[in-house]
């Protein structure tokens, strides 16, 4: 425990602390544009310079270890002058007017410049060549705004294990991007948007569809309905001053009605529907293995996450037969809306516009995949992120905090607790097990409060086993069988999990993968910045939402039951397959 003196105050630092962390403990927030929680320091932005007694040069606080007897000064004329010059130089190459930038409200560079009182650019001159890459539906890159902090590189390489982008070239000419000047569409970018979630400026962001949504809402010929993903309720409040994990589903419904949506729904309904389809698919494969002894593909791997699907298609195409054929809840909702809902409301599906609010940038890409036209139309027309929704609420001038909670509309209504936890790592697994265990044994899932504790939390790869006991007669072949399951979140962890199965070290019956750390609650479209503390707060909120629901398992959702009775017949029926599954 070295004692470090920061600006005259002694603090006890942990052995692995940097000067940045020691200064934080002493009450000084040193600015940084590159350091991220849980990632090794890059020392790239040079904004965190401090004076260390006995050292002639200024040191980067993020990459300088704290040591016993260290005397640090963060507020000297030398530090201020250096910091000012660094920020002025960053601004001198930074393209674009703040007022026209997506990040005008939360740009970290702008904030630091403001704190330093920089209001003019003393270094007018050449700017590097600017390239705007909008080759994929989910995200854009604008190299003119890039400050080369390399957070996106660290996320894409070290956390997601993809390496789609890297610094190319040298010095002034450096461009953060794919090899050979390629566009994102030409490389293995899964559009998870984790790069967009950590970009301190407006150099990477979601492809905005706000204008399209407003235009649809203003078109008198269109009926415009909206679905909100389960992750939104635990995060949207952050855009309006609520702490992470504040549950705002009811206020979100109210805000969407004020915007003029003709039907306000929650994707949670479709999450329950997904469990009926995917749970049935899992039990079908278990029956093939344990009853019929025929060749089948186990483990069943979840398919809700489009980032994961793109990853598997590119890097592990041999896994495709193992991945569930179920569409994601977003797409199931869209298909059901443009068939069943359109019919029951007597609307021409050509005049029905389905908007999704998602925590995710990859969902924008998912919606335009060729398989996602099962209704005969594009099943989901527009996808906006949590951040885009907050912008729209501000455009309308709504006082979000003052809105009274409202329920979603019929006929899809409120969903079960199982659907709430679809948004967090381990949640889809737990939801599926609640229903599968009930179907097989006739009893609720054992375990405290219906939870599968070992698959909750932020460990990268989590495992659990569920044993079927006292099975119903039809499922007696599963008597005593232990279904071993695994959960991975973050694509780097997903890769480790897949590799351990490929090497034959591990064997599972059911695997859940979510591309983003923490699951959808940490998605690339969520409010910035997402730390583990924020992730845990959002997850805790969803579990508490779940525990407060009268129904906790998807098969208990009466609206889903009615949908089967009136339209889809039964899970995995011919029509269900046609509409709710992809056909590989």
């Amino acid at each position: 425990m070295p004692t470090v003196n920061v600006n005259g105050r002694d603090v006890s630092a942990r052995d692995d602390w940097s000067v940045l962390e020691a200064a934080q403990a002493a009450g000084y927030e040193i600015p940084t544009l590159c350091k991220m929680e849980g990632c090794s320091p890059l020392g790239a932005c040079r904004v965190c310079m401090v004076e260390v007694e006995g050292q002639e040069r200024l040191q980067a606080a993020c990459s300088t270890p704290a040591f016993e007897g260290m005397v640090v000064k963060t507020n000297t004329p030398k530090v201020r002058e250096a910091l000012r010059t660094v920020v002025e130089l960053l601004l001198s190459e930074h393209e674009g007017l703040c007022v026209f930038c997506d990040r005008d409200q939360d740009c970290e560079l702008r904030q630091i410049a403001g704190n330093l009182g920089i209001h003019a650019n003393p270094y007018e001159g050449a700017k590097p060549r600017r390239r705007f890459d909008d080759s994929v539906p989910g995200i854009f890159r604008d190299t003119g705004k890039c400050i080369k902090c390399r957070r996106c590189v660290q996320i894409c390489n070290d956390v997601q294990g993809l390496g789609a982008i890297f610094p190319q070239g040298r010095g002034y000419d450096t461009v953060i991007g794919p090899a050979f000047g390629r566009s994102l569409s030409e490389v293995t970018c899964v559009q998870c948007g984790q790069c967009a979630a950590v970009c301190p400026v407006g150099a990477i962001g979601e492809r905005n569809q706000i204008d399209e949504v407003w235009a649809a809402l203003a078109d008198p010929r269109k009926r415009v309905i909206v679905q909100t993903a389960p992750a939104i309720r635990a995060a949207l409040g952050e855009c309006f001053g609520y702490p992470p994990g504040a549950l705002v589903a009811g206020k979100t419904n109210a805000a969407l009605r004020r915007m003029g949506f003709d039907g306000v729904f929650e994707t949670n309904f479709a999450a329950d529907l997904t469990i009926m389809e995917e749970g049935t698919e899992l039990l079908g494969r278990l029956a093939a293995q344990f009853r019929d002894h025929t060749r089948t593909h186990l483990p069943l791997i979840t398919s809700c996450c489009p980032g994961w699907i793109a990853f598997a298609e590119s890097l592990y195409p041999e896994l495709m037969p193992y991945i569930s054929t179920c569409k994601s809840p977003q797409q199931m909702f869209g298909t059901v809306a443009k068939t069943y809902y359109a019919r029951s409301e007597d609307i021409d599906p050509a005049d029905l516009v389905v908007v999704s609010v998602m925590p995710c940038t990859a969902k924008k890409a998912e919606a335009v995949r060729p398989e996602m036209y099962s209704s005969g139309y594009q099943d989901v027309d527009y996808v906006i992120t949590t951040r885009e929704l907050s912008t729209m609420i501000n455009t309308l001038g709504l006082d979000f905090g003052e809105l009274e909670a409202e329920e979603p509309d019929a006929p899809f209504g409120a969903a079960t607790g199982a659907a709430d936890i679809f948004a967090n790592t381990g949640g889809v697994m737990e939801a599926a097990l609640r229903t599968a265990h009930y179907v097989v044994t006739g009893r609720p899932l054992p375990g405290e409060n219906l939870h599968v504790k070992p698959v909750a939390g932020l460990a990268g790869v989590k495992e659990a086993g569920v044993e079927f006991q006292n099975c119903r007669e039809a499922w007696s072949f599963l008597e005593g069988v232990e279904l071993s399951v695994a959960v991975a979140h973050g694509l780097g962890n997903a890769r480790s999990l897949v590799e351990s199965v490929r090497r034959g070290e591990k064997s599972y019956g059911f695997v859940e993968v979510m591309a983003c750390p923490g699951g959808c609650i940490g998605g690339g479209g969520q409010p910035r910045m997402t730390s583990d503390e924020v992730r845990l707060a959002r997850i805790k909120a969803l579990y508490s939402d779940d525990e407060g629901k009268p129904s906790r398992a998807s098969h208990e959702n009466p609206h889903v039951q009615r949908l089967y009775d009136e339209f889809l017949e039964e899970p995995n029926s011919r029509i269900a397959h046609e509409l709710l599954h992809v056909h590989r």
């Binding site: 789609a164 890297f166 190319q168 040298r170 090899a179 298609e313």
Partner: protein, 195 residues
């Protein structure tokens, strides 16, 4: 759902492999399991082919199990590596601090004019490639130009044609066909290292 997407570097296609790629495989094999294998592999591949083609770079990335973007990141960082076919002779103009202040930049501009190419390019007859370097360790002799492994000291813009002539295949150097002989009394092959 389509089974595969055609993503760079992960193609499933099994095309007949060119001899070049087998050479790359052998180079990588010699460095397998080494920390920091990338740069020596790139150096040897460039020695073998004269430059690093897209195909060769992608093969190296695949064999070393690295993202292609990371390999091109290294290739484009170091001025030593080139992704275009080189001329028979490589002319490197030092723009290190000492050479820069002693009119290295002017020498470079005049060389660009003389050869009719920009930095990173090769003359149409493949005789000369023009590169810049960052200090050859011969600062006392600034400005310095290297042609292949030869160090030319205190280079003057007015003497560039004479400097290039001995390497001779360029029709740009003093008109007529130049001698293939590479001997010259003006060369100084004893000092300096590689870039």
């Amino acid at each position: 759902m389509e089974q595969t997407k055609d993503h760079a570097g992960v193609s499933e296609a099994r095309e007949p492999e060119s001899d070049d790629l087998l050479v790359v495989d052998r180079i990588v094999e010699r460095h397998r399991g080494e920390q920091g294998a990338l740069i020596p592999v790139l150096q040897k591949a460039q020695q073998a082919f004269g430059y690093l083609s897209t195909e060769v770079i992608e093969r190296i990335a695949a064999r070393l199990e690295m993202p292609v973007s990371q390999v091109t990141g290294v290739v484009t960082f170091y001025s030593y590596f080139t992704t275009t076919p080189r001329g028979e002779n490589t002319v490197r103009v030092c723009l290190g601090t000492a050479c820069y202040v002693r009119s290295g930049k002017q020498v470079l501009e005049d060389l660009e004019k003389t050869l009719g190419v920009s930095v990173g390019e090769t003359t149409a007859d493949r005789c000369f490639s023009l590169e810049i370097g960052r200090c050859f360790g011969a600062c006392g002799l600034a400005p310095v130009v290297m042609v292949n492994d030869d160090v030319h000291q205190r280079v003057k813009s007015t003497k560039l044609r004479e400097l290039l002539e001995p390497y001779g295949c360029s029709n740009d150097v003093d008109g007529g066909p130049a001698a293939q002989s590479r001997g010259s009394t003006e060369r100084n092959s004893t000092s300096g290292g590689s870039a």
